[in-house]
Symmetry: C3
Subunit: 299 residues, 3 copies
């Protein structure tokens, strides 16, 4: 479903208390993190904890999107994370450091073996190889991705700076590939937990580049993400008017219309639906599977 | 022909008065716009108006490059725009929102059906898919392209800002692809008609990135585009000296020469010819068809 | 060998005095330049001079990396430069303006004919075509590359500015491709010899983008390059601790470990080795040939 995903709050899978509290800050989505958030010695015990916490969150917070992030394909934990930590009903599984289409095949096979065939995937794009091959990675069952700036720059051998110039190329390229693949793109973390101004500035940059939401590594960042990624009242009103006019035209058998002086067609209607989805209004389309309007080409 | 194209002024095809006045500000090129400039209700009547206006401009202003922009391939108007709005003698047809090599095939077929086979095309690169596939789009009969920042960012789901960081990746990539394909690249519009400083700054950026001219959506922008995209007197003098020395060397059967302490070969001569073309001096080469000097590799 | 290459000082091959003095500023590497540094009239006499100078430098400065840059493939000098200017024992040959994988084949064939098969190559990426095809160029025997901003922008038809925005796309793309190919990337020159602040700023940018060293066109730039590209004492200490823990884990048959609260695996060990190499500590791996750790994926 195209639910709004402006904020994606992480909670370590080895901390049942933090996982249980995650909804308090009102995020659109949480991910229970078996990877970076859990030290190697706690990897095994974190699996049942994540499973239990995810089930509770899904039961108690029906509007919350609940993800779990497993350890990467190259670790010894990946397959058993998939087999043991993911309850039925999960919104999706987050797989870090995907680097090729073959990696996506491996994820699909592991999900199938675990009886979770069809579970949508959020791809972590956070290495040089991942960015270099992002176009081939962003295909079903990948329905979301996030750009991991810290890991990307570490892998590149570069340096992270507040100016973000060193990630502008990769961050732009990932957002573009996501748009072409109709994948929901989530922007990089901001590591400094106390710097609200930087978070807001970083989020504005991400939104300008085409990201639709942002990672939150602390509950206090959730409200900041919502502040930036929520459409304005004016944008929402316009989207409602446009869709009303578009649906009326469709009922008359017309594919394009003159809306407030502008030619409107299916792509613009899709954007208007995304705007409404972003404020939580019910929508019917499904990302990745939404049928594009057939191109009308008179002979 | 490699004519200078520093400024490309738009005029709505539904406004015969504005089309007739377009040459007054002295642009290098105009395009009569059947797409964004014309509301859906006026699309049909704009075709004969554009046809008539283009014929008059070509007859009365022999040095002016005259283009017409048709509606996009996915609209119901594309084929009849091509069939009815384009007079013989037109400099080229502008096709917005091209997104693949297949789209270019479709344009060629439509031109053939309309008896306009061989008419060069200016490709609008202004969507996520268009930028992602720009390399395959920029091939004959495409001889020019423009980067449409507003449509690109809207399609991406991003936000346009005066800082232009959100388009730096795409704008750079389009300019590079154009250079490799030997296609003349035209830079994005500046929507704020009253902000001369922003236009000049934006044009300087575009020129630094490799663009050779800029869209003008108001006659007052034409002089600003010329101010930025005209080579300096010093650049012109150097180009003349270089070509004289190069032609003398060629007459002696030499492919490279020492020109003012620098090794000069065909690529540098080509750039010098482009400089002279940019100030309107006659040139003989044709973009896309100019033969590169064979690589001289002694066995 | 993965020797540190923070600074790469150029010396014109037509100037035996400057070549002999090149080690005085303490660069990690020098390249004796038969290309841009030598006017056409002196190309032939520069070959034996470069040959002799390289032999002396190799004999007298065993830790210095010694390269020679030949003229480009499209010049009449390329083959004889390779045949006559490169002594046995040279660290590598620098080939400017490589533009395709076919160009790399041509270089390999010329090296073979000259009895220099296996000599590693430093690729100059400094044209529109070179950047557009950088991924195919960076493969063995290419073990290093440099990004040539001045030539790239001239070829693009753009303008060089101190802000570097016009090269951010290409400079980022080259660094990323180099990382993926495990090629050592050297950053652009700074043409203004007297502006230390600009050099330092430019080097900081390059390091953030993933470059591992920088071109120096004057001996005074060598110390500046070292100032920026030398890891801090803290980075070095951490790398030593990490490798000790990693090697101990490997001796126990473990591929990953918990190091100071962070999961550590082969890629992080590789980075730690690179940090030590950057300060000149002995390392065993060879760039391009270093075997990646096999991915551990339990069935």
């Amino acid at each position: 479903m195209t639910a709004r995903l402006r904020s994606l709050l992480t909670a370590p899978a080895s901390r049942p208390d933090l996982m249980a509290k995650a909804p308090r800050s009102g995020p659109d989505a949480v991910f229970l993190d078996l990877e970076d958030g859990v030290p190697p010695g706690a990897k095994l015990s974190a699996r049942p904890d994540a499973h239990t916490a995810a089930e509770s969150l899904l039961a108690d917070h029906p509007k919350l999107l609940v993800f779990a992030r497993v350890n990467g394909l190259s670790t010894p934990w990946f397959d058993d994370d998939v087999a043991e930590a993911l309850p039925l009903g999960l919104t999706g599984v987050v797989v870090p450091k995907l680097e090729s289409s073959t990696d996506v095949d491996t994820v699909e096979a592991a999900l199938d073996r675990a009886g979770l065939g069809g579970l949508p995937v959020m791809a972590g794009i956070e290495s040089a190889a991942g960015v270099a091959r992002v176009q081939e990675i962003l295909r079903p069952p990948v329905a979301w991705c996030y750009f991991g700036a810290e890991d990307y720059v570490a892998d590149l051998g570069g340096i992270r700076t507040p100016g973000n110039l060193e990630v502008l190329y990769a961050r732009s390229r990932v957002a573009l590939a996501a748009r072409v693949a109709e994948v929901h793109a989530i922007d990089q973390i901001v590591a400094d937990l106390r710097d609200e101004t930087r978070y807001l500035h970083d989020a504005e940059e991400g939104r300008a580049l085409g990201y639709q939401g942002k990672l939150c590594i602390h509950p206090a960042q959730v409200a900041l993400a919502h502040q930036v990624f929520t459409p304005s009242a004016e944008e929402v009103e316009r989207a409602r008017r446009l869709l009303a006019a578009y649906d009326a035209a469709a009922a008359r058998g017309e594919a394009t219309l003159d809306f407030e002086g502008q030619m409107v067609d299916e792509p613009m209607a899709r954007r208007a639906r995304a705007t409404l989805a972003a404020i939580g209004e019910p929508v019917i389309t499904t990302p990745g599977s939404s049928p594009s309007a057939p191109r009308t080409r008179p002979r």
